[in-house]
């Protein structure tokens, strides 16, 4: 099992460790998922996300043939969300990409998809360099901005989806104003030789707590953010996942990426299944079948958890798009329980847009 550069900190702080995407990762620290979740919503949570793939992309043309992003239109110093699509319009992986300079980009991909992403990019002649000497941390929450300014004097001038190179402790780092919690916050790519000290300095701040993947998952689901392997996979298109907003107008009209015809067609003519937010009466997890009120199977849950903010179970899943009723039945173990359809996100986003 692989370990991130910060693994020794996780074990020293008695994190519960579990394997995730080939890495031994902290699920939570001693105070538990609910504490970490609420702390991030009220203060600032610090997450080790060094397991994710960090890549420099040289040139936009080859990349834009395998992803829906418009790297020409993206401004230098801005980041956007995107995905690699397959011939059926399905998603190979989703990612964040930032424009560092003309024709130079910084890409972050899912840990569990790294190898296939790299092979895919190679096959399609994308010129890229994997970053092997930097870790990645996320500082998330309403006080992340204040903390980062107080500790390292960076970030206070950034708005949602801004990206820049900064100096932290005299070393070059990159920072984006984004994350995976629905909160204001940052993701910072930091050289291995100073990352421990950066983490120690941050967690010494009274408004910062280390948080694990458990809280990361409950936070992202409350925020209605898709997780690859759950809401997104090879068989599911971005349009079905409600990600039309992430397909720039230029790419909707002109296409030019793998699977563009399927996606354009779905934009015009609709989809068979659609991602829906559901409030189940008891926790309903991934794989739970969704039925209409007459007992017909109409879909499946892709993620389900307990929302510490709503103090109630939340879930999302795919439902046949012709289904218009406001309630569903969910088959949890041997029981049919009630579910109420609602809208994403479950907890409103708190991004800083200036």
């Amino acid at each position: 099992m692989a370990k991130t550069i910060l693994y020794d900190i996780h074990t020293k702080l008695n994190a519960k460790i579990a394997s995730f995407a080939g890495y031994d990762m902290p699920i939570n620290y001693e105070k538990g998922i609910i504490f970490e979740h609420n702390f991030t919503r009220n203060n600032a949570g610090l997450f080790d996300v060094s397991h994710m793939g960090q890549v420099v992309i040289n040139g936009s043309d080859a990349f834009m043939k395998i992803a829906q992003v418009d790297l020409k239109a993206l401004k230098i110093g801005k980041q956007c969300y995107g995905f690699f699509t397959n011939e059926n319009g399905g998603v190979i992986d989703d990612f964040m990409i930032a424009k560092v300079a003309e024709e130079k980009f910084f890409l972050v991909v899912n840990a569990g998809c790294k190898d296939k992403d790299f092979a895919h990019m190679e096959k399609h002649k994308v010129d890229f360099d994997i970053i092997e000497n930097m870790g990645l941390i996320a500082l998330q929450g309403p006080l992340a901005r204040k903390v980062l300014d107080e500790v390292f004097k960076v970030g206070s001038d950034m708005k949602f989806l801004d990206f820049k190179q900064v100096e932290i402790m005299g070393k070059k780092c990159t920072i984006s104003c984004s994350g995976y919690t629905g909160e204001d916050g940052y993701e910072i790519s930091i050289p291995f030789d100073i990352i421990h000290e950066v983490v120690f300095k941050l967690i010494a701040h009274e408004n910062v707590e280390l948080c694990g993947l458990g809280a990361r998952d409950s936070l992202r689901l409350e925020a209605g953010l898709c997780l690859y392997g759950h809401e997104l996979d090879n068989e599911t298109t971005p349009i079905e996942a409600g990600l039309l907003w992430a397909v720039p107008k230029s790419r909707r009209e002109n296409g030019g990426f793998i699977g563009d015809e399927v996606i354009t067609n779905q934009i015009k003519n609709g989809v068979k299944k659609k991602l829906k937010a559901i409030l189940p009466s008891i926790p309903a997890r991934e794989g739970v079948e969704i039925y209409d009120n007459n007992g017909n199977l109409i879909g499946k849950i892709t993620s389900g958890t307990y929302s510490p903010c709503l103090k109630a179970p939340i879930a999302c899943g795919y439902i046949n798009s012709d289904y218009n009723e406001e309630t569903v039945k969910l088959k949890v173990r041997d029981k049919m329980i009630d579910g109420k359809i609602t809208t994403l996100p479950f907890v409103k986003h708190n991004y800083f847009r200036g």
């Binding site: 699920i27 998922i33 609910i34 458990g214 998952d217 926790p283 958890t305 179970p313």
Partner: protein, 118 residues
């Protein structure tokens, strides 16, 4: 007297209460929901009798011995989060009428269980 399974349930052979060990609850993390069976249900040793949900996952609780459910602990349904590893050992999920006490012969006593979980 309490007897423990390798899957971390305990049964009190005197009163038929079934619960899970504090070790198990510490592994689960914050409990947010407990799903309990119907009173009157007949259960066989090894059957799933209850489910404990944390934020992250659902964990099944299995019957240490066969019997009939005669009572469920309703207080767990309304406020599961109040339970934590320190008081969990005394919190029971269900009370059963034990069919055959000899089914518990292969279970571990407290010392043996503690030795197993280390």
């Amino acid at each position: 007297m309490k007897k423990y399974t390798e899957t971390h349930e305990w049964i009190d052979l005197e009163n038929g209460h079934i619960g899970i060990s504090s070790y198990a609850i510490a592994q689960l993390g914050d409990v947010v929901f407990v799903d309990l069976p119907e009173v009157g249900k007949e259960i066989n040793k090894g059957d799933e009798i209850a489910v404990v949900e944390s934020v992250k996952a659902a964990s099944e609780i299995y019957a240490p011995v066969s019997g009939i459910i005669v009572e469920v602990n309703e207080t767990l349904k309304s406020a599961p989060a109040k339970l934590n590893p320190t008081n969990w050992e005394s919190a029971w999920f269900v009370k059963i009428e034990i069919k055959d006490k000899s089914e518990a012969d292969g279970l571990k006593n407290h010392e043996e269980y503690e030795a197993m979980v280390g």
